[in-house]
Symmetry: C2
Subunit: 371 residues, 2 copies
């Protein structure tokens, strides 16, 4: 069986790209946003609601799923798609980032990472081979190589070591990878050091992966630092392969990254902020607990086609949050995911029409202070 994975660039507009991923579970128009389904569920939303919101691909977290319920259990039950009843494409991360950010008492050496589970304290080892095996058990359409992601501000000497380790681990992941219905992407590290980014990119490109991610962004640098670095980093990557900026970000970050030639994004903001009563709209963020919404009969966003905006007032959403009702987080998460997906649709439309720069400028002029 040949791998079904394909990527085509359909059109370019400056350095922004309109493209299409083809995966074992269907196509994804790019630039694309992936809602985050950390524990086998995009928090608070049914798969039906996700489809309604316009999501075409979602992300699952290897770290969380391997610890609970376990990747072999998910494999025994037919894989992650079936387990969570999501029939579109899924990308899984490698688990590395969560080990560094969530797990207690982790130690890293060339072999891999050893850490304690944040759930029960059990000792767990994550190696490049194990990261691939877990993701093959989950059965995602796109898997990620295990990488080392040092914190923002790490000294250059350690950054260099982390880059070398990330390259060696990518080789091992590639050697271990078996599933022909799953594409394995490599992750470029190097922090804000563009020489290291270039070195890492060139080494990974020589290994010829079907896609490349940029890791270690949005971990402390300013949006301006990130945007400047992204343009350079994207130029180190082959034009005919998809580029995925991990864990980013706000709508304004996404616009700048698309301008730099990025094709894929994931971020917890639409759901995490949604659960905390913050809505993203085209006119700005809206904090629904604010008393100004108490009697407001209008929807969150008047021209939004989502279920929440078509059926509920700001006054009702305000009430749900004040009364601590579960439906509030669900309805605002639904709106936010829908808003992000509409943003991507508008981005693709603008690239297609050759007016992305104007679209971006118009959005950023409106959003700069808040999104």
């Amino acid at each position: 069986m040949n791998t079904p994975f394909r990527f085509e660039v359909l059109q370019v507009d400056g350095t922004a790209r309109l493209g299409r991923l083809t995966t074992a579970h269907g196509p994804v128009e790019t630039p694309a946003f992936m809602p985050v389904g950390t524990q086998g569920t995009v928090k608070g939303l049914t798969p039906e609601q996700l489809v309604h919101a316009g999501a075409s691909i979602i992300l699952g977290n290897t770290y969380h799923l391997a610890l609970r319920p376990g990747d072999t259990l998910i494999a025994d039950l037919g894989g992650l798609h079936r387990f969570m009843n999501w029939h579109g494409p899924i990308l899984t991360d490698s688990g590395g980032f969560q080990v560094y950010s969530l797990a207690p008492s982790r130690t890293i050496d060339d072999q891999g990472v050893v850490f304690r589970s944040h759930i029960d304290g059990a000792r767990v080892e994550l190696t490049p081979e194990r990261a691939v095996a877990i993701q093959e058990n989950l059965g995602s359409d796109i898997a990620m190589c295990l990488d080392e992601c040092p914190p923002f501000g790490t000294a250059r000497e350690y950054l260099r070591q982390a880059v070398q380790r990330t390259i060696r681990w990518a080789e091992r992941c590639r050697a271990a990878h078996r599933r022909s219905d799953q594409a394995l992407f490599a992750i470029v590290q190097g922090g804000t050091d563009l020489d290291l980014r270039q070195e890492c990119s060139e080494a990974l490109v020589r290994l010829d992966f079907p896609g490349y991610a940029l890791g270690g962004f949005s971990v402390g640098e300013t949006p301006q630092q990130m945007a400047a670095a992204l343009e350079v980093c994207a130029s180190f990557l082959p034009a005919d392969k998809p580029r995925y900026l991990m864990g980013v970000g706000r709508p304004s970050d996404i616009l700048r990254a698309v301008a730099a030639g990025i094709d894929m994004f994931d971020c917890v903001l639409p759901t995490r902020n949604g659960r905390n009563a913050q809505a993203f709209t085209w006119s700005g963020t809206v904090r629904l607990r604010n008393a100004v919404h108490r009697r407001d009969p209008g929807p969150l966003e008047s021209d939004c086609p989502c279920y929440t905006c078509r059926h509920f007032s700001r006054a009702y959403l305000h009430h749900l949050f004040m009364a601590d009702e579960m439906l509030g987080p669900t309805l605002v998460s639904l709106h936010n995911v829908s808003m992000y997906c509409r943003l991507m649709t508008e981005i693709r439309r603008a690239i297609s029409a050759g007016r992305f720069a104007a679209f971006q400028a118009a959005c950023l002029a409106r959003w700069e202070t808040w999104l």
Copy 2:
């Protein structure tokens, strides 16, 4: 404008009745179950999901809604149906029961009840006239008279006073009631004292309400005590008016009450227990946190047509609860409401076919120990 409210008994089978309520927001086939939407939302479910689960009428709580967001605010926004986007019939309770069970430092006299809000400690007065005004503001299809509901085991002398007060308050509610698109039901009290129940029923029937509720059940008596009392109590009420048993109950309670001639029910069990990982099925209750479900690929209930059972395994539901994911409470609440609505459908079908006694016996033989 004439009141659109009507009730027809379409068929009887023993003392069980098949009927139809006609309300300003559409018909309700009886016996009917009303999911509880305490704070303007049936917890965790969208109105769309409620319709899918088969709910035809829901209940709203006057006490909660009057305190937050306030009944005048809801009226200003077009009423409760529009506020919560539920376009079917709504019954609101009078608030009395919640004042007695939730509010701190309440004092009752003939004028009404004075209590402290459980939200902000504000002093609130609930009189019969105010209970009616609140429900008229909410715009429910069926409103309830304010009653006094003494705790189970109250001495007969106080029970008698409470019954007399309930009758006087029903008169005042009737006199205060204005909305012609809303039916006002009276509530029969009297605890387990059947003489008092009869006295209360006769007095209320003389006032000629379009429907009658039995209050003060399921507050401490055994299911057997309740079933025996219900049969007698139902006989005190006119055959051509709907009978509503408030706050009841488990599926087995509902079956016994239907046998006694009850037409309407509400209960928090399907949603409250659903949030706590307990599912109701035709083969028994299922505790989804139990480790036995960890690897179970089967649905909660194999022949259940609900969204949850059609799309998710017990293993997945178990995982959602172990991982403390919001989707678990939502999916199991959806199943439970759906199961209750299917129970009512089967009850109506059995009455229609003249085989309710056999249906009830078969269910109770299977359920006695647990439902």
